[in-house]
């Protein structure tokens, strides 16, 4: 074999090996296992801890409130609709109970008169006219809205 062919062949082999080595190094683990992405990313997306624990979790301690709510019109609403978890996802709700104040603004999120809410099964009120100068929870029990306190 002539010298020049040998050199050409050698440099070709060196470049190809270097290319393969760098390619191995740069492409992350599990890339291309399931498609054009890192398969490990699926587990990373799964790894987060849920904040919202679900009604069953709340009812395991607050069964009385759950029963009360189940008996009235708010029965279909999950606890965490109104009591969003104001906690670290890994801690328990006992550490810092998610308390809300039954202000008119809060109830108005669903019950304020709005042309987009008519006939959807949610009572619509002219809040200013209905409330007088009281908070909603002074008359209504938020868990059982038709248990009026008078």
């Amino acid at each position: 074999m002539s010298k020049i062919i040998f050199r050409l062949l050698l440099s070709f082999i060196v470049f190809v090996t270097a290319f393969i080595a760098i390619r191995q190094l740069v492409i992350p683990d599990s890339f291309g296992k399931l498609g054009h992405y890192r398969a490990n990313s699926l587990d990373e997306n799964k790894a987060r801890v849920p904040y919202y624990k679900g009604t069953e979790k709340c009812a395991s301690c607050h069964q009385d409130i759950y029963d009360l709510q189940f008996s009235d019109l708010h029965s279909e609403i999950s606890c965490e609709s109104c009591h969003p978890p104001q906690i670290d996802a890994n801690t328990d709700c006992k550490v810092m109970p998610p308390i809300i104040e039954g202000t008119i603004e809060f109830c108005a999120q669903c019950h304020k008169m709005n042309a987009g809410r008519i006939d959807k099964g949610v009572p619509q009120l002219d809040i200013e006219e209905h409330k007088g100068d009281q908070n909603c929870i002074e008359c209504h029990n938020a868990h059982a809205p038709w248990e009026l306190t008078e």
Binding site: Y37, S41, Y51, Y52, E76, I77, E80, P84, G116
Partner: protein, 259 residues
Amino acid sequence: MGTNRISNNRRKFFKASAALIGGTFAISIMKPLGLMAQTDSDDNTNEKDKFPLWGMGVDIEKCVGCGKCAEACKIENDVPKEPFYFRTWIEQYTVKNDGEVKIESPNGGIGGLNQSVPDEDIFKSFMVPKLCNHCTNAPCVQACPVGATYISPEGVVLVDDSYCIGCSYCIQACPYGARFMNPVTKAADKCTFCYHRISEGLQPACVEVCPTDARIFGDLRDKKSDLVKFLQENPTEILKPHLNTKSRVFYNGLSSEVR
């Protein structure tokens, strides 16, 4: 002597050509055989069918625009609280008597939507919750230059935020405006159907908190799921069907005004 050499070359040429044509012919016969061999790997696609295929139904006729879903989404997924980062949000469409359409979504609907148009001017009004549509032909996945956004085996469009280079091509490619650049992770961010929750058998946070059950989540392959029932009982439509994205978020009661 010269003529001899030429004829020798010619012989070589014919030999090489015959080998080439014969080889091509042989491979063309082999290919259908290979396809036959792939029928075995069709079992693998059947195995893929064993994964659920997640989708969502949105019932516009039930949505009251309370904003609980958008709020829950922000808490569940650590979305920045500023009013321009949303994985899901609610738009209030108001069609006025003169035909003008007004679309409002102050703070994504968090805290409840208020009607700003006086009642006498309103022809009709409705709420449209929006989120990532988890397209089968996702434009964002095609646009990503590094493979940092992809469709999971369950049909959920996800972002690999450690691999994302933050070029924002996917944000421009999304026809639904469902993506944003997360200022904390410096990566593209979007609705994942709460992938961490659905993998554990829970509902996505927005579905969990919806007080009127306007959002229905389920497995499109499970013929008994609530979502399949919803699709069977209601005339549903996807957003922007002309773009051939084949999205998996289905709307009931969708008006033509919705963009």
